[in-house]
Symmetry: C2
Subunit: 326 residues, 2 copies
C-alpha cells in the first residue's frame, strides 16, 4: 500500500537464540522488518554499538528478584563523553520490562509422555515450586540442572525421549519444536520481571523505535534520565549534597546503584536514574529538558566524571509496581 518502507535495522542481543534477551529484542523490534543478531558477550555488544556495525542493542540491566546485571553496569561506566571512555558514543534511548514466564515442554515425538526427568536452569526449581510439588514430586521425578533454560529445551529436543521434559521460555520451546504441556507454571505469575535498555550510537541517531514507543502506554509522558558520576574522595558528605540537587530541581530518583571504580580501591561509580516529579505543573517537554540541563550543571559542583547517558520514556506501569528508590 505504501512505498515508505524503512530499511531493515540490525539489532544486537545477548545470545544464544531463544534467550530472554532475544525475546525482549523481538518484542521491541519486529523480526519481520529487522534483522536480530545473537552476540556472544556484553562487551562485544557495546563494541558493536560504538563501531556502528549494529543500529540498536537490547541489554538486560536489572531483574526484579536477582537485582542489577553488574557486568552491564561495569560497561556503562565506560561510556560517556570524556577522553578515557571506551564506549563514548553509546546512549540509552528506551527501556523495556519483560515478564519472565516458564512453561513445561516435551519432545514433539512424545505423543503420551510419562515424565521421569526434568531439565532446567538451577534457579528455576524454586520459582516453580508449587506446580512441581503437586505434579512432579521429587521422589518420583528426577531434576537435572543445566546451564540455561534454552539449553534444557535443546537437550530435550535432540534427545526425543518420551520420559524427558524441560522447563523453559515459550520462545525456547517454539525454537526447538517442543510441545507445551503447561504455561506460566511459576509460583507467582507476573512477579519476576527483567528490565532492558535499548541503546544506540549517539552520533548515528538511528530512528526505528517509533513503532515500539507508540504501542506503549505512557499517558503521563514521563521521561527518565540515566546519569553516572564519581564523588571526589576529599569531600565527605558529597553524595548527600549531590542527591539533594535532584530534590532541589524536583526530580525523583527512580534507581541508584554503585560499582567499584576500578581506578582507586573503595572508590565507586554511581548510577542514578531520575525523572521530574509530578508537582502539578504543566511544563512542556522542552521545559523539562531545560530543568535537567540546569540540574546537571549544579550537580557538577559535587561530582567528578559526571555523564548523562540518555533520556527515555518511563515504561513502568504504576499500577503494577511503583518505583520506590527515592
Amino acid at each position: 500500500m505504501s512505498d515508505d518502507v524503512s530499511p531493515a535495522l540490525n539489532i544486537a542481543y545477548l545470545g544464544p537464540e531463544a534467550s530472554f534477551s532475544h525475546q525482549a529484542a523481538i518484542e521491541v523490534f519486529s523480526p519481520s522488518t529487522n534483522v536480530l543478531h545473537p552476540i556472544p558477550s556484553f562487551s562485544a555488544i557495546f563494541s558493536a554499538i560504538q563501531s556502528s556495525t549494529h543500529d540498536f542493542a537490547v541489554i538486560p540491566i536489572e531483574n526484579s528478584t536477582n537485582g542489577s546485571v553488574v557486568q552491564v553496569l561495569d560497561l556503562l561506566s565506560q561510556c560517556g563523553l570524556d577522553s578515557s571512555a571506551a564506549y563514548p558514543d553509546l546512549e540509552v534511548v528506551a527501556e523495556y520490562y519483560l515478564p519472565v514466564h516458564h512453561c513445561l515442554f516435551v519432545s514433539s515425538t512424545s505423543t503420551n509422555p510419562d515424565i521421569r526427568t526434568i531439565y532446567t536452569h538451577p534457579q528455576v526449581w524454586g520459582q516453580c515450586n508449587k506446580y512441581l510439588s503437586s505434579n512432579f514430586p521429587p521422589n518420583q521425578v528426577e531434576r537435572i540442572d543445566v546451564g540455561s533454560t534454552s539449553a534444557a529445551a535443546q537437550l530435550v529436543s535432540r534427545d526425543g525421549n518420551a520420559s524427558n521434559a524441560a522447563i523453559a521460555s515459550k520462545l525456547a520451546g517454539q525454537r526447538h519444536n517442543l510441545i507445551c504441556l503447561a504455561e506460566n507454571i511459576e509460583d507467582e505469575p507476573g512477579s519476576n520481571t527483567t528490565r532492558f535498555f535499548v541503546v544506540r550510537n549517539r552520533h548515528q541517531r538511528t530512528t526505528g523505535l517509533e513503532q515500539y514507543l507508540s504501542s506503549r502506554p505512557n499517558q503521563k509522558q514521563k521521561y527518565k534520565s540515566l546519569i553516572t558520576f564519581t564523588i571526589p574522595h576529599t569531600k565527605p558528605g558529597a553524595l548527600a549534597d549531590a542527591l539533594a540537587v535532584f530534590n532541589q530541581y524536583h526530580f525523583n530518583l527512580t534507581s541508584i546503584d554503585t560499582r567499584p571504580s576500578r581506578k582507586r580501591n573503595w572508590q565507586y561509580v554511581f548510577f542514578v536514574e531520575c525523572e521530574e516529579a509530578d508537582n502539578g505543573n504543566t511544563g512542556s517537554i522542552d521545559d523539562e529538558e531545560e530543568n535537567l540541563k540546569n540540574l546537571l550543571t549544579d550537580l557538577q559542583k559535587f561530582t567528578e566524571s559526571l555523564r548523562h547517558l540518555g533520556r527515555f520514556q518511563d515504561q513502568l506501569l504504576r499500577e503494577d509496581g511503583i518505583h520506590s528508590k527515592s
Copy 2:
C-alpha cells in the same frame, strides 16, 4: 604461666578449607586457640550464628575489583529486630581487609619442574597477566580453568605430575603440600582486596575479638555503623532526605548499596555504612553513640524497616585507600 585461659571459640567460615574466607578467619581468630569450621553455604553460616551453634563467623562482603557479595547483602537484609527477620540476632562487630595474593605452585614430588600446563580459577589469568606472559606464554603452556584456586592446588597435589602447576593462595599451597615457585605474581600486588565482616549473636555478646582488635592500627578510633532500611514508596525524594540526616549529624557515608526488597517489585533495601566526620571536636565514644542514637531516631521519619546491624572499628588504612562513597 596463667590460669586465665579462655575456652576455645567456634568460628564459622565459607568452606572449603584453604579458601580466602578460611585465610581471613585464621588472621582474625588464631587457630591455635580457636576451632575454625568450614560451612558449605552463606545461609548455613547465618543460621549457625542465629542458633548460637557457633560463636563468630567471618563473611566476605565486598571485593575491591568485583564489588559487593550480593548473596551476603540479601542475607543481611533478613537480619534486624523486626518480627519478620529470619536472623534477628545477628550483629556485625568487626571488619577485616584481606589482600588477595597469588602464588605459582608445583607438586612436592617435582624436583625439576618443566611446566606444560597451569590450572587456576578463570578470573585469575587476567590478574597475573604480566608474569604469565613473560614466563609461561600461552603458545608454550596450556591454561586450564577449574572451579576455584583451592581446587587447582588440590588437583596438582593429587596428580603429582612434574609438568603441572597451579596458581592459588599461599594457604592453599601449604594445605596441599605444594612447592611455591613464585609469590605475589599478580599484576598489581596489593590492588585486589576483599573486605570481611565478623558477626556474632547479639544476645550472646561473646568476647574473643580483643586480641585481633588490639593488634590493629586504629589510631583515629573511628567507628563505622551498618544500617539497613527501605523507603516508603509514597514519598518521592525520601532517599535524598534520608541521606541529608547523615550530613546533619556530621556522619559521612563510607558505603551505600541496594538490593531488591523481594516484597514488592522495584522496591529496594538500602545498605548504608557511616562514621562520624572528623570535624575537630574531641567528643568521647559515648558522645558519638548518643549522636548515632539521635541520627537513627531522625532517620525513622524518612524510612521504613530501619535496622542498625552493628558498630565496629574502621580498619581501612587511610594511606592505602580512602573511602569515597560520600
